[in-house]
Symmetry: C2
């Protein structure tokens, strides 16, 4: 695997640290680099190879609709005829950069809307790591907001969230995922990011999000999702592939024995719309109605 594009594909597939928005922008950057690598090819080859690569990138992380969505937009924007190689290269790179900038702006607006809803002194409970939720907290620095964050097994990305928020001056409580039920009752609001928003209003996000949503409902606190509208996708839950990663990530090996043993490591779960109070997107708070 010495081909730089294949390497990039592999990195995107294996990335457990970054959320969907960040990976979508990274996919656009990969497209830019590909254009540069094809500088010496003819325009037909450029068009053909880039279309192939775009398609490969679109399917690299099936739980993350935003990658497909942004790359689809890019594909449409560069589908002009009768351009020279230089013109097409420039267009491809410019469009990718524009989409990256728009994605960052949209994410920042989501974060502003969510931050405006959280009052001084409130306690926010969250699960896993979302770059959008991290931006919400950037807007809340100095507001005396407390944060409860779960470790998010298997790779515990919640621990890095706790460290970062502590550096920013927040009062942070780190818990096991198993304590989400206990601690939802000690928070004022639950806030998570999303990998995808489905057609029926349900939310694909890191496994455990469904549990936090259920616990928030039981504790009668609002459960908010913060994500750009680019994460909306036309699929319904039955059509979604929930990515599974290596069972080795859990660190437990089942012995050989008379019975069969499996370790499961499904990375995402789906939270039904009925459990979601609302979604902060770049236009503001969208209230979710189940089934629509």
């Amino acid at each position: 695997m010495t081909d730089p594009f294949e390497q990039s594909l592999h990195q995107l597939r294996e990335d457990r640290r970054q959320g969907a928005s960040a990976l979508a922008r990274q996919a656009l950057t990969v497209l830019c680099r590909s254009v540069e690598q094809l500088a010496n090819d003819d325009v037909a080859t450029l068009r053909r190879v880039m279309a192939q690569r775009c398609q490969q990138l679109q399917s690299v992380r099936p739980s993350m609709a935003v990658i497909d969505r942004l790359l689809e937009q890019w594909q449409q924007q560069v589908a002009t005829e009768a351009l020279s190689h230089a013109q097409l290269s420039t267009l491809m790179i410019e469009r990718a950069q524009q989409l990256i900038a728009q994605s960052c702006q949209a994410q920042d607006w989501c974060a502003r809307h969510a931050a405006a809803r959280i009052r001084r002194g409130q306690t926010v409970i969250s699960h896993s790591r979302s770059s959008t939720v991290m931006k919400v907290f950037e807007h809340l620095v100095g507001q005396d907001v407390r944060v409860i964050i779960s470790e998010s097994r298997p790779l515990n990305e919640g621990v890095a969230v706790a460290h970062r928020l502590q550096q920013q001056g927040f009062d942070v409580t780190l818990i096991t995922d198993a304590q989400l039920g206990l601690f939802a009752a000690r928070a004022d609001v639950a806030l998570v990011g999303a990998d995808s928003l489905l057609a029926d209003g349900s939310v694909v996000n890191k496994a455990g999000t469904l549990l936090l949503a259920l616990a928030s409902g039981a504790a009668q606190i609002p459960f908010y999702v913060c994500c750009e509208s680019d994460k909306r996708c036309p699929l319904v839950p039955e059509q979604v592939t929930l990515e599974a990663m290596s069972p080795l990530e859990l660190g437990h090996e089942l012995l050989a024995g008379p019975g069969r043993g499996h370790v499961e490591n499904i990375y995402f779960d789906i939270t039904p719309a009925a459990l979601v109070t609302g979604v902060f997107d770049e236009a503001g708070l969208q209230l979710v109605t189940a089934g629509g």
Copy 2:
């Protein structure tokens, strides 16, 4: 800490592997050993020291009502006057042994009732380790029952459960606690043990149990608790001390930073009666009605 009784108290306080019933029986065994250690004292000293030790044992694990309950019964049964030292010693040991045997029998009856409810080929989802639930599975060996078990952070006692069940020939799936929401929907029935049953029908058990109960409700599968009636206690949730253990068990240290950081390790949560389909005790299935 060279005193054997103090050592036993310490062991009971620190035990993370055994459930409440097993620890209650262990506390009775500690009383027997204490009687033997006091063989050369006079009868008044025997009575006084044993009353003190009984009281200390009763408060060693505040989330586990069954310890208090069995030791209270023992205390009442040995509160007879005008016995010789030899007679009182014998009575104390006999009563403790009788209570241990009764506890084992009660546990086995609970397990038989629960096992009778699970049909061939069904999938059972469970959380943490309960000696009563392990007895249920003993009754289900060879019945083609599948088991989904969560690791149960921080010390992952679910992994030992998975190994044991695999050795017994079950088809076992081991998951992170965060996947309980996903996997409840793939099970036919949820089954857990309990540390205490409270006056309002709510259930004290290992942290994460509340999440499994919520997930079971969302997945529309029954959520059963299997435990002896000795685990019933007259307290309501507000009166219960949920034991916290060392934050170091999580294995994450928060850096010193401008913000304050806490790692929380509360071992138990409380599942409201409304989420419990029923309790299998030694008399059979008791349906739970919320609030009563």
